[in-house]
Symmetry: C2
Subunit: 247 residues, 2 copies
Amino acid sequence: MQSNELPKELAARRIDRPVPLREHVYQAMQELIISRRLAPGQHLVESELAQMLGVSRQPVREALQWLNNEGWVDLRPGYGAFVHAPTQEEADQLLAVRRLLESESARLAALHADAEGVAKLRDLNRQGVEALENDDVDTAVALNAAVHRCVTELSGNKVLLDFATQVDRRVRWYYTPIARQRGEQSWQEHAALIDAIENRDADTAARIMAEHTERTRKSYLEQQVEDDADQQLIALPARRRRKASKA
Amino acid sequence: MQSNELPKELAARRIDRPVPLREHVYQAMQELIISRRLAPGQHLVESELAQMLGVSRQPVREALQWLNNEGWVDLRPGYGAFVHAPTQEEADQLLAVRRLLESESARLAALHADAEGVAKLRDLNRQGVEALENDDVDTAVALNAAVHRCVTELSGNKVLLDFATQVDRRVRWYYTPIARQRGEQSWQEHAALIDAIENRDADTAARIMAEHTERTRKSYLEQQVEDDADQQLIALPARRRRKASKA
DNA sequence: CCGCTGTATGCTGTAGACAACGGGCAAGAA
DNA sequence: TTCTTGCCCGTTGTCTACAGCATACAGCGG
């Protein structure tokens, strides 16, 4: 099952085949959505996407299924796919669930983590602080997610990891804008959390994580109000959009 | 796929188009998996399923995607779909997550539930007790799930409801066999829970729910040991199975 | 007898095409 | 003008066909 890359430039006129096309479609569309080039609520026409990405409709359909499962698009049977339009209410509830899952993760991590795991956490956190000092926001955000993910991995509960991962992906809809705002404090809280885990202090770890995610939630809610205006980008059916743009 | 049955529905299904075929495929396969006619670990060949259900491979593929997302089958890219083989460890972790989510649901339900919601809960619970008295296990299981779902709905957190629903579906892999075992006690606990919700006693509600699901988990773990033998039904590639059955 | 290699076959992933459904739009009636 | 009615066409859901890869197996050499 190994994928030995780079042998065929001939077939590479499409895309390298070892990885199914739907994967590329999935990633491409995810980026398009994150970058807002596909607006929330927008109707996604399969044939348009297929042509745009140079593949047939099947990979697009399958990618849409995945995107649907991860909350990036909403699939209305017989009607089509629409870019998910996140609401404040949903964000609030999502972050509440995140708080619940991650707090429990921290508790379990404190019970189960070994020295190696703690070391890895410290390393990630150190890198995060460095990234912040260098104003490298993207890296900092990624490392932040990595820290949280690592804690969840150390919980030893794979199902919990699954669900937390799902939540994390959906949180990323909202997260980036607030990363800069409360950067430094966040990493200090991480450090305290890691200490608690190292000391096998489950209750403290859980409490710190709960407070940590709760602050993130608050930050988001304060931040978000101003954005709501352009949430109103209307979701026109593709047809109507096209007619409109002709005029 | 030794026993090809229920292909009669296909003809009728093809006529009423409003519901996509993949929905029917999804439901049919889910039932086949629950009933163990598709064994855990078994390799699912798309073309076989398609022929068996009287549709083409596309609806089957899409149904498999859904089944994968809900944990019924595992999809290995380029290799095929396999009926998910649940393990004890996974069940344990799954039930731990369930405990977490449902406990929080109960807490929130106690904070937010209105009189109407409480009434609905009581009604469901009453029906459940009746079903148990009539030895109607299937109905009792369904009503049990309904009570839990209703509590989660009353929490007012739609995201939480989403995740709890996912967990519930996966728990059903394991649940039915233990339903009979601890039937009566379960409904008594439900009653206590509903009281707590009605009294707006969030902490008590959360505690009762946590203990309730924890007992379910324990029951499962005790029960399950004996089943593990036939978990070892080997997952042969479809080809080999066919050859073997010729001999 | 065992291991290797070439070949055959079956499976998945993808492409391209068709038919039905449903919304949009225009023409006609009130 | 405004509402109704019928047609048009865009979109989805589905089907069939094909290419490529991986495995199983046979035949050969050690």
